[in-house]
Amino acid sequence: MNFESNWAFLADSARRTLRRLGKMGAGQAEAYILATRTIETSIRNSTVLTESAIEDMGLSFRAATRDSRVGFACTNIVDNEQRIADTGEKALSVARLSAPVPGFALPDKQKATHVEGLFDKAVVMAGVEDAVDIARRLIESTEVVDNRVCARGGQVLLAYIRKGVVNSLGVDVETEETQAIGFVYGNGVNEGKPTPSCADGELLRSFSLEPEKIGQATGRMIIGLFDSKPIENFVGSVVFEPEAISYQLCDAILGAVKGEVVAAGGSPWADKTDQTVASADFTVYDDAILKGGFASRAFDDEGHPSQRTTLISKGQLKSFLHDATTANTLKTENTGNASRFAGGMEMTKMIIGNGYKAKPEVYPSNLVIQLGNKSKEKLISEVDRGLLVGSMAGFVQAGSGLISAQLGRAHYIQHGEIKHSVKGGMVSGVAFDWLRQISAIGNDAKQYFNSVVPSLRVEKVKVVGSN
């Protein structure tokens, strides 16, 4: 069987298995099917190292008993219908050993949202030669910036994705998407001293990667770190560039707006709707219908139609993110945020993986911070003493919002000017305090896996020097 007939066989088998589960006593049941064809080219130490073609197709079942005990089972060994039926029955058998999930719900039948720009036939038609060409251009454009710069690693990935959701309430949707990813990281060695790694990349839906733009940006970041010096401890203004915002600060916001956390009483914002949680010009929304957005989609991973949801408007908390179960539990609207590609550091999830291997949880699509009107240069020029932080490493502590992050790509600012890059050092504080201390927002948004964010300037940040 080829890809197309495999898909049809799988989808039909899933529908028949759902009917069978109903006869076996399941109250609700759902099948999620995911098929991917991926071409990958990897870069290592200035060379194109390997070309890979990975094909995968699998499905998972969630089956709930009539008293809402829920089980999950999945497989990618899908060459016969009996194994698919067995997987569905396994989900029901482990459900019977589980406890009832309060408020468990699956979405009702609704029409999927049409979202533009999520499929490009050119990505499907592209061959390994195209991926190799892009990878070479990434290397060359990084290293042409300066002969002390080396492209240490990177990847070009071209993916065709087909996914479908069928459930016992009548949802039966499927969609095709494409992804084109190109990134390169590297470092430089100046007078025998290596710089920290710098990376840049693009996450697109269309076959329009610009390797020269990515490579040159990476090269310029690297040479910007050649003059690094240690700094003293101080409290000052920090301009966080989009890459830094996309990790720690977005994680803090996510930890506070996830419906599951709110339902469990673990969100510090659980009772703060319509109250001020951030500075007055800070607006955030979850946008699953963003044209061409990397995390945009026609429907979420339970089959609920996509939408745009305002989370924070002018500093005031407006809404949380929900899937069918958390919306039902809290008696509010489903925002279509069920995801089987949730990030995070939970060990069991990292071991199991994502897609059909994962049961859905609440997660943002594109978490968008509304653009401000200041250029990065303007943000810097208004700082008396502070830092420009391009990247940092470290995690935000769930619940408390505590951050202590090691500076990666960072520069020291004095009297409105960048003086030198920073060697070592950390920033520490509480993310929820930082949101209230935002003094300006940049006009320079960039797309990451689940966010589209600009630079933010935060006042009174504690900087731990490396002297």
């Binding site: 495999n6 290592r44 130490n45 060379t47 194109v48 390997t50 070309e51 890979s52 073609a53 990975i54 094909e55 995968d56 197709m57 005990r69 089980g71 999950f72 089972a73 999945c74 497989t75 990618n76 060994i77 060459d79 997987t87 482990v94 050993l97 589980s98 406890a99 009832p100 999930v101 190799v132 080396c150 690693g153 470092n187 060695v189 290596p194 920290p196 790694s197 673990g266 550091m345 060990m347 069991t348 990292m350 071991i351 199991i352 049961k359 470290g394 995690f395 502590q397 408390s400 505590l402 202590s404 992050a405 090691q406 070592g424 950390m426 520490s428 509480v430 504690k462 731990v464 490396s466």
Partner: protein
């Protein structure tokens, strides 16, 4: 079945073909606040082909389908992919020869998970939850997850190797949040080994749950740790993360060749002479018990650093040839669907001769740091990672507890400051996300060193 791929019509176009097949079964049962949050049963399988063409480039192809035609198709794809790059690649890829192996191995397992009922499996996280929840009324959230992974793996190569390996890995994770008013304090504990349910003979799930809960409760009244450079004792739980992230990764040859922190310092001193570091995939019970790697190379006890002198890196066959070193059996893929990378197996530090008490005695003002919340490091050995809690040490005595924060610095610089290593090394579970996931072991003592603490409190 997968051997037939070696006879497919395109096989002759490749200098080397490696074919891997796998069947994996995962059982996950998570208890959250007393009820089953997740009960999952996962069966996965597939094959992959890796080919070296014209001595210049690798091609790799994988699929979840594993019939005869699919294996042949994967070989054909891998050859085609390698050719696409080989055309313009000038440099040849050298491969260190591997001893041909024909073996069938099963990891030791006294109480197989497969023989336990689903009810019995469910009891493991339930007991851990009970141990935690009964510790205090201030436990706001308690989560316990049992996870078992059963793997059957097959490797065949056009050089003649035929290797079959079977193993089960069992882990238990406990994550606690204690709450008092507006104060939330997380803590976590974990157990893991390659083997069966005998994992819980020594430390019961109840004890593990209670241990995590007791720690979270104590943290409710603890203050934030300070910021700045301190002389510290790192408990094995945090030493394991430092070793893996910030020393282990720069000792992986692919990262070392990126111009990483250890550069070309073989046979030169790189850290305290109290430190000997090794990697060993044959440590029974370790989560990195992997007797043969995914290039068919037998795992070695590889001395990486001997009394402070850099001796070797961890290698796959390509890096070994490039560095003119023997392969060390460190080419591992998370599953059949991805290519092998150079990974740690069970990385360890040889124990020293100090007791923990002696290590604390010599500190005028510092910290005793415990527990990990994970971390990251780059090839230069610059690291940052979280610790769960610490104790102030003043005038050689343990004092009050502090909450967690992050540690940062350059591990090579930090390891030069080590002036004491504890007598006992502990086998710890670990994991890694270098491009693809991996479960690994760490065998670590406590160490005393100087390090930067990024807390928000004062002295």
């Amino acid at each position: 079945m997968i051997e037939r791929g070696l006879e497919s019509k395109n096989a002759s176009k490749a200098d080397l073909i490696q074919i891997r097949g796998q069947r994996r079964t995962i059982t996950l049962c998570t208890i959250l606040n007393g009820t089953v949050e997740t009960f999952s049963h996962i069966t996965l399988g597939g094959i992959s082909a890796r080919t070296l063409v014209e001595g210049k480039s690798w091609g790799f192809s994988s699929t979840n389908n594993s019939k005869k035609d699919d294996v042949e198709c994967a070989v054909t794809n891998a050859v085609k992919l390698a050719k696409a790059s080989a055309r313009s690649e000038a440099k040849k890829i050298a491969l260190e020869p591997a001893k041909l192996e024909s073996v069938k191995l099963s990891a030791p397992c006294r109480k197989p998970v497969e023989k336990a009922s689903l009810e019995d499996i469910k009891l493991v996280p339930i007991e851990a939850y009970r141990g935690a929840s009964e510790a205090s009324s201030k436990i706001a959230s308690a989560k316990a997850s049992f996870l078992s992974i059963h793997d059957q793996k097959w490797f065949v190569s056009s050089e003649g190797s035929r290797i079959s390996q079977e193993s089960t890995r069992v882990q238990l994770f406990v994550d606690i949040v204690a709450k008092d008013g507006e104060t939330y304090c997380p803590s976590s504990e974990s157990l893991g080994h390659t083997g069966g349910l005998e994992l819980f003979d020594e430390t019961s799930p109840t004890v593990l749950g209670k241990r995590a809960a007791d720690k979270a409760i104590k943290l409710l009244t603890a203050k934030a740790p300070p910021s700045g450079n301190y002389r510290v004792v790192l408990h094995p739980t945090i030493c394991a993360t430092l070793l893996h992230e910030a020393i282990g990764h720069p000792l992986e040859a692919d990262l070392a060749m990126e111009g990483g922190g250890f550069g070309n310092y073989v046979d030169k001193p790189v850290m305290s002479n109290l430190i000997t570091i090794y990697d060993d995939g044959s440590v029974k019970g370790g989560l990195g018990f992997l007797p043969y790697d995914d290039e068919g190379v037998k795992s070695n006890h590889t001395i990486l650093v001997e009394k402070g002198m850099l001796r070797s890196f961890m290698h796959d066959r390509t890096s070994a040839a490039n560095m003119k070193a023997p392969p060390t059996g460190n080419a591992h893929a998370w599953d059949y669907s991805v290519e092998p990378l150079i990974r740690q197996t069970n990385i360890g530090i040889e124990p020293g001769n100090s007791t923990i008490e002696e290590m604390v005695e010599d500190i005028e003002e510092g910290l005793f740091i415990e527990g990990t919340f994970g971390g990251q490091a780059d090839a230069n050995a610059d690291f940052t990672f979280g610790f769960q809690n610490a104790y102030w040490v003043r005038k050689g005595r343990m004092a009050e507890m502090t909450r967690g924060a992050n540690l940062s610095g350059n591990a090579i610089s930090v390891f030069k400051t080590i002036d004491a290593v504890s007598k006992d090394a502990v086998l710890r579970p670990g994991a890694c996300g270098k491009g693809q996931f991996a479960i690994q072991g760490r065998i670590v003592p406590a160490i005393r060193c100087e390090i930067t603490v990024g807390g928000t409190g004062g002295t």
